[in-house]
Structures are given as structure tokens and as C-alpha cells.
Amino acid sequence: MSAFEAVIGLEVHAQLKTESKLFCACSTHFGEKPNTNTCPVCTGMPGALPVINKKAVEFAAKMALAMQCRINTRSVFARKNYFYPDLPKGYQISQYEAPLAENGCVSIVSGGSFREIRIIRIHMEDDAGKSIHSRHENLSYVDLNRTGVPLIEIVSGPDLRSAEEAVTYLKQLRSILMYLGICEGNMEEGNFRCDANVSLRPLGRERLGVRTELKNMNSFRHVHKALEYEIQRQEDLLSDSEPVIQETLLFDEDSGTTRSMRGKEEAHDYRYFPDPDLVPMELSREAIAGWTAELPELPPAKMLRFQEAYGLPEYDAGLLTAERDLADYFEATVALGPPPKVVSNWIMTDLLREIREKDLVLSRCAFTPERFASLLKLIDSGKISSKTGKQIFPELLLQDLDPGTYVQEKGYVQISDDSELTRILEEVLEENPKELAAYKAGKKKLLSFFMGQVMKKTKGQANPKLVNEKLQELLK
């Protein structure tokens, strides 16, 4: 047991999924030819002026409301000044003294219980472009397609206590952003990014230790690895009575370690001041009330409801509600009749496995909740075996097939008809008089022999449960 406690705060940057950029009408579409989604405004041409994108404000405000923040009815855009080739204006338009929203919180499940993580502030800003360095040519290129894409920065309180907790919090934020439909939430593509502030303090002490800032973590796994490494590094230092130096560290994914980002890049004085090109942003009470009313049911509430309404265990409810698409899919299927726990088991095992292995998007599969329910009904009614169901599931998910027609055509339907089964069983017993006699003489193991014969005769399509019951009855 360590004598130290880790204190972690996260700064999350989420790209908002608007059609156009934050301060101009250029498209935000990803993957276009370099410098094609640009105009005088986002390339910082002389005399160009920014005009706020109202949709981006709505998206940002909805996230703030989902985080239970207080929205500032008057917030101010400020310039954050620094030089970099992919920052065409020489400043980023951000918010500083009066951000969009403050004082929120979000609850996460950690170690089996709920924890409240404070949200200090949420503010809006525009993204920078991308620099591409070519070692081969000894040249650098700049692509300004991303310049001006709207971002929100979500700053947590120093409330996270471990790498696991930090990742859980991140996943919760991502889940809420995706529920709101305002962010793609892809860390690898960079539309959901995070920096972390980490410090250690002796257990039981209030005062915070010296912190370091971690950057360049491009996946949940990296966040976890980087934090684990940094917590251990600080603990080793403190245990040896060495000081922790306040600095910015870059995570190196190859070595799994952090390294110092010393030098000029770190020594920034951003010289924030209110952007004179943008009037203070006034949000009416009515607009805020309207957005509040439009908020969907969010993961924590949905999770509780799934436990209560469907009698699901916490684990199932958590997994099913992590993504809005999946939760909706579950509910639509259950509404058609199948027992919730059965649906949940199928989703958690077969469905999610297939989706992950084959990198599918559920909403784009032809396997609708209706088809899912009809498959479960085929199994429940004994028309096909559970085994057959599992076998044909990947096929049904990948292709546009109606389960009922499919099993009929492929001859997967089980023989469950009572008189039909009786007729087949009697035939089998007649054809095997020796085994019948031996069974009657006490060789009970031969039951499986008769079972095998029935399956052979029906090419495996007899309902095994019914065959078993019938056999025992006939052999009495």
C-alpha cells in the first residue's frame, strides 16, 4: 500500500460535430485535400473577421447542461496569443475570464460506488491547423482544413485518484458527448483529446503536491499507461525525498514513458485579452431552457432506469447504456417481447463480439431490432436450437436476411411436431431391436445411442429436448 495519493485533473478537448467552422462558413469535413476547406477568415487573411456559429454555441451549451454547469448568460471570447505556423491569426479565439459555463459535476462509477467529479469550467475555442513535417525533404507543410473547427474544453476538478478513475471519467464524458450527438468521440482521429495534471500527496493531507502536465495521449490505453507511469515516477522521486519539478511532459507511446518538453515551447505568456472582433455572447434564459428541454436521457439516469425497469444487473445496465445507439437498440428489441435479460446476454456476448471483430456500425446493419426479436422468438419457440441461433447470428448481422425465411430456406428448422417425432422414434426403436433389448435389460447408457440415431435420421433437425423427453417416455 502506497503512502501517497494521486491527484489527477483532466482537460478534455472535444471537437464539435457542426457542419461549418466556429467563426466562418467553411466545411468541417474531415479528410479533404489540404487547404481546401478554407476562406479568408480561417486562413487569417488581412481584414477578415470572425462570426460565431450558433449551432456550435448550442452544442457547447448542451454539454454544459448535461454536466450540470451554470451557464453564463454573458460570456466573452478572448484571444490567446502565440506564434505557430498552423495558427494563422497568431492567436486562438478562446474564452478566458468569462467562459461559457462553470461549476458542474459528473458522476462516475468507480470501485463499485458513485463518485462525483467536479467540472470547473467549459469553454469554447477554435482549433488550430495541422503541421506536417517531412524529414525526407527537410520541409514543413501546413494544412488549414482543421483551423477554426469548433472545440470545447472541459476542465475537471483535481478529483480523480487513479489512472483507472481517469479513464472511467474520460469514457463517461465521451459517452455523454456521443449521447448528445455533438462529437465523434474518436481519440485516435484527435476529435476527443485530453491533457492531464498529476500530483501526489501523502495520504490524508489536504494540500496539493507539485504537479506535472501530461500531453500527447492519443487513446484511452495511452492515458492509462501515461498516468500509471507518471504516478510511479513521482512516487519514486518523493520516496527518495527528491522534488517533483513542475513541467510539461510528453507521453512517448513507443517507450511507454513520459519525457520533459523543456524549452521555449513551454514558456508561454498567452497575453489573453477580450477579442474586440466579437461582442460578448449573450444567451437568453429562453434559449437555455429550450436546450435543457431537448437534452436526451443521459447514461447515469438511463443506467438506473435499465436496472429498475428491466431488472438487469448493474454490469449489464452499464454496458448497454454506454452508447446511445446500443441502449436504443436494446429497448427497441425488448419492446417486441423477448425477455430483457435474454436480449442483454445476446448483446453483451454475440452482438458486441461481432461488432468489435468486424468493426461494424450497428445502426448501419440490416439486422434491425425486429429481426433480432424474431430470431429470439425462433429459439424460444423451439423452431431452431439455441446452437443454430448462435451459428447463424454472424450471417444475419452481416447480410440483409429475414431470420424466419433464412432458417426455413437453409433447413435449420427443428422437428418439434409431436406425432412426427413419435413416428421417427418408433422407427428407430424398431430398426434396432438388439439395442432396445439391451437397454431394457438395464444398459441405460444406450439412451444416447438412440438419441444419435434420431439425429442421424433427421439430419440433426430434431428438437433435442423433445427427443430426450419422448425417448424416456417410450422406453419406460
Binding site: 488581412p46 481584414g47 473577421l49 521555449k264
Partner: protein
């Protein structure tokens, strides 16, 4: 019947063009000739768009007059700080020497829509930073009234050009007096509209919260016509105001006299140390004329004015330091090709691309925004600004307009103040405060100085968006003020 002369004003030329007494081609050719005659003396222009202008003139002549287009066929000179599609826009800086925008500033777009012909781009102080036009990277412009004197700044080129009769009007910008002061120095009417009245889109930013575009003309009526064209809300500029644009020219004659009007006379301006006797005399005579038209004058005090110049320079330099950060040599503009790395490229490009005054203001502006100094400088200046604005608003409840001299002296000599930046900054002392308030102001020529023989200007301030009142009073007063002769420095031309 109108004939083309160098002192033909916009309204007269418009009549001549609409009646077809003058063809557009003749007007443009006349302006081009006038440019050829006067440019070697006054250096008012950085680029002449002659060929294109002549083609446009022929096209307009073919189409025939269109009275609905307020500026049909009128040639105009644009200060080089306003983006003009396909025409160089250098801001009189080496940094943007070869920069050609692919967009028009909104004000220029509106002039074109109204039928104006862009004949050239005017000289100015580099990035509009200066009060004498001596900070141009392409040589100073000179005052047509005395070629040894400055035309004022930063819109020195537009003022010199219009005063020399190159075109009937020009478009300038006013951040701390840059329209009113050169208009005053060159014997023109200069109008700085209310902040937000004219879109700033395409105006290369210097002090974004202070910059405003306006006309330099020979008459108040001409100023009213141009304002009518360029004013109005623009969704591309978030600070542009959605306030209706009155028909300024049509409403000018509503006040045949000034009876019942009160002019506020602020002691901070009229009793200022350094106010030259000839300016005092000229402006006092203008007040006398106003009283003759029935106006009453009331003394008033604007005590915070004395802090205005300090607050103004802190704010404008802070904004400038950020506004000019985009000139980094990466995407356009001057780039040093010898630099070994990124930081060196920035440093060398910006050291060579910007002139000394621009560098001084960037450095001072960077300083006042720096961590640890922000509260003492920028925040304090913003508070003072609020105070000044309140004081002017308050004063304008007790009078209809405030009257003050445009500058403490008439146009000074070239080189007279270039060694002392502070002395140069102080020449703006009467024009800076208005930009901090955002209110509209108009400078009106009121005669020639007894000592220097140079034009003297008086300025009027009105409440926000009360340009109609400003223009009406100025128009009425204009009839009673001495008409200026042709500029003496160009007497033989």
C-alpha cells in the same frame, strides 16, 4: 453645364454624369491626368488602377446613366488599408508590398455596387500607425497646401489626393483621428461614423475596437452621399450594428438655421496648453458663425479627457500587437529566406517587414498585455475608456453636439516631430478620445490659419448613430464658413 475642374465636388460631378454633360470616360481620364500632374509632388498614391478604371468607364458609358446608383461613374481613391479584390493592398508596409487580396472589403464592395470606379490606392502611415503619413514604407505623402508640410495621418494619402483634386472623394479610416486630422490639415470634410455604422470586413485591423471607415470629401453633402452608400449592417462583421440607415443627403436641408441648438464647448479642448493661436482663432470664428445662425454655446467639462491619450495608446497598441501577429511570413507577405529555423524566420521577417513605428507599437502592446502588467495597463485603460464614454454620453444630454478644434495646430512640417514619438502622439490629443467613446465625429474646414496659411478644422461630436444631426448641423454651418481657395502648394498646377 458642368465642366471638369480639379475642385469639382462629388455632387457636381454626379449631376454632370447623369445629364451626360460629362462622360464617365472623360471623368476618369481627367482624374488620371490630375494624378499624373500632382503625384510627383504629393506622393498620395501607392497604386493606380488606370487601365481597369478606363475599361469600366467605357462600360458604364455604354450602359448609360443610372440615377439609382448614387456614385454612378464617380472615380474614387481608397486608402490602402482596405482590401480591394485583385488590387494591391499593402497598408504602406514592406510586409504586404506584394499582397493582392482575392476579396473586397465590404465598404469597397458597396462603393462598387453604387457605381463608383476604384481608380487607385492611397498612401498612409504603415498599418495606419501615425499622424503625419511619414511612417509609410513608400515615402511620405505631402500636403497640397504646402509641399513642405505633412498632410496628416494616417489617412494622409487620401486627404492629399482629394485636396489635390485627383478624385472628388476618397475613403479613409479613423482609429484615433486618422480621417478627421488629415481632413483638417488638408481643408476637407472628414467623417468618422459611429463605431459599428460601417462594416469593418476587409479593413486591415489596427485597433479593432476603434477602427472605423469614413469618407474624405470637399463638402458635407458629399460626405452624406458616401455615408449613405457604405453604412449599414453587415453579417460578416459581428461589431456592425443592425441600425437602419437614414437617407442622409435627403435630410440635410431640414435645418435651414441652427436656432434652438446647443453646442457644447469643452474646456479641456479649448483651454488646452499647446492650442495654437491660429487654430483657436479659426475655430472661435466658426463658433461665432454658428451663433449667427441661432445656435447657443455652453461651456462644459470632460475631465477624464486628460487620461484619454494614455488609455488610447495602451488599448490600440495592445490590439495592434495581436492583430499584426498574422504577418509571420508563413502564408503570405514578406518572408526572410535566409532564416535557419522557425523562430529566426519569424524574427527576421517581422524585423525587416515592419517599419520602426509598427515595431515600437507591437512591442509596447505586447508589454501591456503581458502577465503581471495586464491589470496595471490594459485593464486600467479599459476602465478609463468606460469612464470617458460615460462622460461624453452625459455631456451630450446637455447639448446637441460637442465642438472642438481638430488638432492643436495646423499641418506641421515634414520631419518636425519624427524624432520624438511622444510629441507625435500628442498631435492626436483632440481626436483620440472620440474613438474611445465610439461616437461619430465630423471635421469641417473653417478657414486658413493667420500664421501658416494652412487649413484649420473644427470637429463636431454627436451621440451614437446621430450622423443625421451631425451632417445637418455641419451642412448649415458650412454655408456660413469661408470657402477655401484651391490648395496653394499646387497653385501653378
Amino acid at each position: 453645364m458642368s465642366t471638369l475642374t480639379a475642385d469639382l465636388n462629388l455632387t457636381e460631378l454626379r449631376q454632370g454624369l447623369l445629364s451626360r454633360d460629362i462622360s464617365v470616360l472623360e471623368a476618369v481620364e481627367h482624374a488620371s491626368r490630375r494624378i499624373q500632374e500632382t503625384e510627383p509632388l504629393i506622393n498620395a498614391l501607392l497604386h493606380v488602377n488606370q487601365e481597369q478604371a478606363l475599361r469600366q468607364a467605357e462600360e458604364l458609358d455604354r450602359q448609360g446613366p443610372n440615377p439609382a446608383r448614387t456614385l454612378w461613374g464617380i472615380p474614387v481613391i481608397i486608402k490602402d488599408v482596405l482590401a480591394t479584390k485583385g488590387l494591391p493592398t499593402s497598408c504602406a508596409s514592406k510586409m504586404l508590398q506584394d499582397f493582392i487580396p482575392f476579396y473586397d472589403s465590404e465598404a469597397v464592395h458597396r462603393l462598387k455596387q453604387a457605381g463608383a470606379i476604384i481608380l487607385g490606392k492611397a498612401n498612409m502611415d504603415e498599418f495606419a500607425m501615425g499622424s503625419s503619413n511619414e511612417n509609410s514604407a513608400f515615402g511620405p505623402s505631402r500636403n497640397p497646401w504646402d509641399l513642405e508640410r505633412v498632410p496628416g495621418g494616417s489617412s494622409g494619402g487620401p486627404a492629399a489626393s482629394t485636396a489635390a483634386g485627383q478624385t472628388p472623394f476618397s475613403l479613409g479610416t479613423d482609429t484615433g483621428g486618422s480621417i478627421r486630422q488629415p481632413a483638417g490639415f488638408c481643408g476637407l470634410v472628414g467623417l468618422k461614423p459611429t463605431y459599428g455604422r460601417v462594416s469593418r470586413f476587409g479593413l486591415v485591423a489596427y485597433g479593432s475596437s476603434l477602427d472605423q471607415i469614413g469618407p474624405l470629401t470637399r463638402t458635407v453633402e458629399d460626405a452624406a452621399r458616401v455615408l449613405r452608400v457604405i453604412a449599414g449592417h453587415d453579417p460578416k462583421d459581428s461589431t456592425s450594428a443592425p441600425v437602419e440607415v437614414p437617407d442622409y443627403p435627403a435630410r440635410l436641408a431640414e435645418r435651414p438655421d441652427l436656432k434652438g441648438l446647443t453646442l457644447g464647448i469643452p474646456e479641456e479642448y479649448w483651454d488646452a496648453e499647446g492650442l495654437s493661436p491660429e487654430v483657436n482663432q479659426g475655430c472661435t470664428a466658426a463658433l461665432e458663425a454658428a451663433r449667427g445662425l441661432g445656435a447657443t454655446t455652453v461651456p462644459l467639462s470632460l475631465p477624464s479627457s486628460k487620461y484619454a491619450i494614455a488609455a488610447y495608446y495602451i488599448i490600440v497598441m495592445a490590439e495592434a500587437s495581436s492583430n499584426l501577429a498574422r504577418y509571420d511570413g508563413v502564408r503570405y507577405g514578406y518572408r526572410d529566406r535566409e532564416a535557419k529555423d522557425l523562430i529566426e524566420m519569424y524574427a527576421r521577417s517581422r524585423s525587416a517587414g515592419f517599419g520602426p513605428e509598427v515595431q515600437r507599437r507591437i512591442i509596447l502592446g505586447t508589454y501591456v498585455l503581458s502577465s503581471g502588467y495586464y491589470d496595471a495597463y490594459y485593464r486600467k485603460a479599459a476602465q478609463v475608456r468606460r469612464l470617458i464614454r460615460d462622460e461624453y454620453d452625459q455631456a451630450l444630454r446637455h447639448c446637441d453636439v460637442i465642438c472642438a478644434p481638430v488638432a492643436p495646430t495646423s499641418a506641421f512640417r515634414l520631419g518636425e516631430k519624427t524624432d520624438d514619438p511622444l510629441q507625435m502622439y500628442l498631435t492626436d490629443v483632440f481626436t483620440n478620445p472620440l474613438n474611445l467613446t465610439g461616437l461619430p465625429g465630423l471635421s469641417l474646414p473653417c478657414g486658413l490659419g493667420e500664421q501658416t496659411g494652412m487649413p484649420i478644422g473644427i470637429q463636431l461630436f454627436a451621440p451614437a448613430f446621430a450622423e443625421t444631426r451631425l451632417l445637418q448641423i455641419a451642412w448649415t454651418l458650412e454655408q456660413e464658413l469661408p470657402r477655401l481657395p484651391r490648395p496653394s502648394g499646387l497653385a501653378s498646377r
